[in-house]
Subunit: 373 residues, 2 copies
C-alpha cells in the first residue's frame, strides 16, 4: 500500500470545506482542521487524515453531535468541570484549554476536566496551546478501552495519552504519547499495510502475546478480550505496572474527577470520552525567563551528550515534530492510499466533489500528487 | 546471601536512636524513621534500611547537613520554591508537602518545588501525606543521573520517580515508581546477591545492553557511561522515548522550575537533588465523596476484570503495599544480611551499641531474629 503526498493547503481546504458542509461554524472548522493537520505535520499519521473515517462514522451514527452545547457544571478560580454533551472533541477541547489558560493567567494554575466528549485528536495540540501562551501545558484523554491491565486479558483502560509542553529555546519541550506501548492507530496502520505487529505490543483474547493486528483490533471492537500492552509490556519485570499506572493518572484527571465515563464504558451507546487540560504559569515559581533558559540548557546538554554505538543523534521531545513539519511544509503530507479512499467517501458523504481535491485518484496508480515516500 | 527478619519496633527504635545521636531533633527523627520504615513495610526494600549506608556516608562527608535551615525563596498562594540548603531530604520533604497541603486546603491546589536537597526516601511517602488529608497527592524527585536518554550512552537523568495517591475505598490509589525500568537500588540488590541483571534493564559504557550489575554500578559512579534504561527500554519501538519523557516531567517539576541542579550535575561536590510536592483538593471539581466513590468503583472493576491465562490476580496500585504491610507487621521486616552489616557499622559510627539491637549477629549464622525468607 503506497503513499500519496498532498500539499498542506489542499488538505486544509478539504477539511475546512468538509466540516463546514457538516454544519460546524467557521471557528469550529478552523479548530478541527488545525488539530488534524498538526498531527499530520508532526508525523503522527495515526491521528491525522487517517482519523477522518472515525469522525465520519461518529457523525453519521449521531455519537458526535454537531450542534452540541457544552456546559460548565462546576467551577472555581483554579478549576472547572465541563460536560461536553457529546460535542466534537476538538471543539470542546479548544474551549476547555482556553479556560485553563485564562485561569492560569489569573491564579497561576488552571485545570479543566471534560466529560461526555468525543475523540479530540492529538493531546499535544492542547498542551501546545498553553505553551504558545508562555505557560506549561498538559492534556490527556481517556478513550475506548484498549489497554489490558497487568495480568488481565480484557482491555479496561484507554490508550490514555499524556501530553506536556513547556517553553524552551530554540524550540519548546513537547511530549505527547499514549501510556500504552503504542496506540490503536498504530495497529490500524499495521493492519492497513498487512504487516505483523512487533513483539511486546499486543495481547490476544486470552492474554497471550499476539502479532496479528487484524485479530487484536477485531477483538477490541467486539470486546472479546485482548488489546494493547501498557508501556513496559505485560510483565512487572519490564515495568508493565508503570505504564498501567500512568494510564490511571490520565484516567483520574479525565474521567474520575469529572465523574465521567471510565474507559471501560466508553463507546457503549454514547462515546463518553473524557479529557483534561491544565496550564501552569512558570512565573508562580519565580523568574519565568530564567526557568525557560534553565530548561533550554538541560535540553541542549541532553542532545549533546555522548551517543550510543550505532546511533547518530539524541533527540529531545518535540524535535522530531519540528523536523517533520519542515519536511511536510516543503514536500507535502504523505497520506496512505487507503486513507485517501476514506477521504473520498467522506467527501461524498458530506456532498463535496472529491475530484476537486483528488482528481482521478485510484489506489495503486500514480497521479499528479503521487511521489515516492 | 540470606535475610534476617526484624520486628518493626526494633527497626523503629534503631532508627530513632541513630538519627537522634547524629543530631536531629525528635520531630526530624520521627519523619526520617517513618519514611524509611514505610518503604520496608511496603516491600520497597531498596529504599528502606538498605539506604542507611547512603545517609551514613552523606552525613560523614558533609553532603547532608544535619543543622541545615531550609528557606522559602519564592511563594504565591498556590506555589512555593524552597531552598533546602543541603538538608536531609526527608526533613525538608515533609515540610514542603505540609506547605502544599496547606495551600491546597486554602486555594484548591498547592505545588512546592525544592532545590539543593538530598535523597528523600520513597516519593510515595509524601503523596500519601496528601492522600491521608483527603487530597490528591503527587511527588517526585530527581537524583544522581542513572537514566540513559534514548540513543545515548551517558546517564543524564535520574531514576526520577513519580508518586501519585488519591483517596479510595477500601484502600487508596497509591502509585510510586521510577521512570527508569528499575531503580538503582534494584541493581544494588542484584549486585549484593551476585545475580545477573534481567535483559532490558541496563546499558554498558558504550550504550550496549548489559547484565552485569557491578560493572553498570561502577560505571555510573565513575560517570564512565552506561546506566539504566528508561521505562520502555532503549528502543523507540518498545517506547523508550516515553519513559525518557516521564523522566523529563519529573525533572521539570523538581530541578527546572526551582532553578535547581539537573540530574546530570547532582552529586558533583554537593548533592543538589531537587523534589516536588503537589496537593489538589478533589472538591475543586465537585462532590469529593462522589469522586472517591467513582474511583473506588473503577478500581474494583479493574481488580475483578478477566485474568490472563496463568495469572490468579489483577492488582490495582497500592494493593501490594497493603498486603506487604500486613505481612511485615505480623512476621517482621526482612533485611538483607549485608544491610544488617551496614546497620551495625552505622550504629558504631554514631556511637550506639549494635549488640543492643542485633545481639551477636554474624552474616550467614542463624540468630534469634533469623527466619527463612
Amino acid at each position: 500500500m503506497g503513499y500519496v503526498k498532498f500539499p498542506v493547503d489542499l488538505l486544509d481546504r478539504f477539511c475546512m470545506t468538509a466540516f463546514k458542509k457538516i454544519g460546524f461554524n467557521d471557528d469550529e472548522c478552523r479548530t478541527i482542521t488545525d488539530v488534524l493537520l498538526l498531527a499530520d505535520l508532526y508525523g503522527i499519521e495515526s491521528h491525522g487524515m487517517q482519523r477522518l473515517v472515525r469522525y465520519h462514522k461518529g457523525i453519521e451514527k449521531g455519537i458526535i453531535k454537531v450542534d452540541a452545547k457544552p456546559e460548565t457544571v462546576f467551577e472555581t478560580p483554579v478549576s472547572a468541570v465541563v460536560d461536553a454533551n457529546d460535542a466534537m472533541g476538538q471543539v470542546v477541547g479548544r474551549k476547555a484549554m482556553e479556560m485553563a489558560i485564562e485561569k492560569a493567567k489569573n491564579t497561576g494554575i488552571g485545570i479543566v476536566s471534560v466529560r461526555n466528549s468525543n475523540h479530540y485528536g492529538i493531546a499535544g495540540y492542547y498542551a501546545k496551546m498553553a505553551c504558545d501562551a508562555g505557560l506549561m501545558g498538559f492534556s490527556g484523554t481517556n478513550s475506548e478501552a484498549i489497554m489490558v491491565p497487568t495480568f488481565g486479558r480484557l482491555a479496561m483502560i484507554g490508550s490514555n495519552p499524556l501530553a506536556i509542553s513547556m517553553p524552551a529555546d530554540p524550540y519548546p519541550f513537547f511530549f505527547d504519547a499514549s501510556t500504552t506501548v503504542v496506540t490503536r492507530g498504530k495497529l490500524e496502520m499495521y493492519n492497513k499495510m498487512s504487516k505483523p505487529l512487533p513483539d511486546g505490543w499486543a495481547l490476544d483474547k486470552n492474554g497471550h502475546p499476539s502479532n496479528d493486528a487484524a485479530d487484536v483490533l477485531s477483538n477490541i471492537v467486539a470486546k472479546n478480550g485482548g488489546g494493547i500492552m501498557p508501556l513496559g509490556g505485560s510483565e512487572e519485570q519490564s515495568g508493565s505496572h508503570k505504564g498501567y499506572g500512568y494510564g490511571m493518572l490520565c484516567e483520574i484527571f479525565s474521567s474520575i474527577i469529572s465523574l465521567g465515563t471510565t474507559s471501560n464504558y466508553c463507546m457503549k451507546g454514547r462515546s463518553g470520552i473524557c479529557h483534561f487540560f491544565a496550564a501552569i504559569n512558570p512565573a508562580i515559581f519565580g523568574d519565568a525567563a530564567a526557568i525557560k533558559e534553565h530548561l533550554s540548557t538541560y535540553l541542549r546538554e541532553l542532545r549533546e551528550s555522548p551517543l550510543a554505538d550505532g546511533h547518530d543523534r539524541i533527540y529531545t521531545h518535540g524535535e522530531k515534530e519540528i523536523i517533520a513539519t519542515e519536511d511536510r511544509k516543503q514536500n507535502g503530507v504523505p497520506v496512505n492510499e487507503n486513507t485517501v479512499v476514506e477521504m473520498i467517501r467522506f467527501a461524498e458523504f458530506v456532498g463535496m466533489d472529491p475530484k476537486e481535491y483528488f482528481g482521478d485518484f485510484k489506489p495503486g496508480e500514480s497521479n499528479m500528487f503521487n511521489q515516492n515516500y
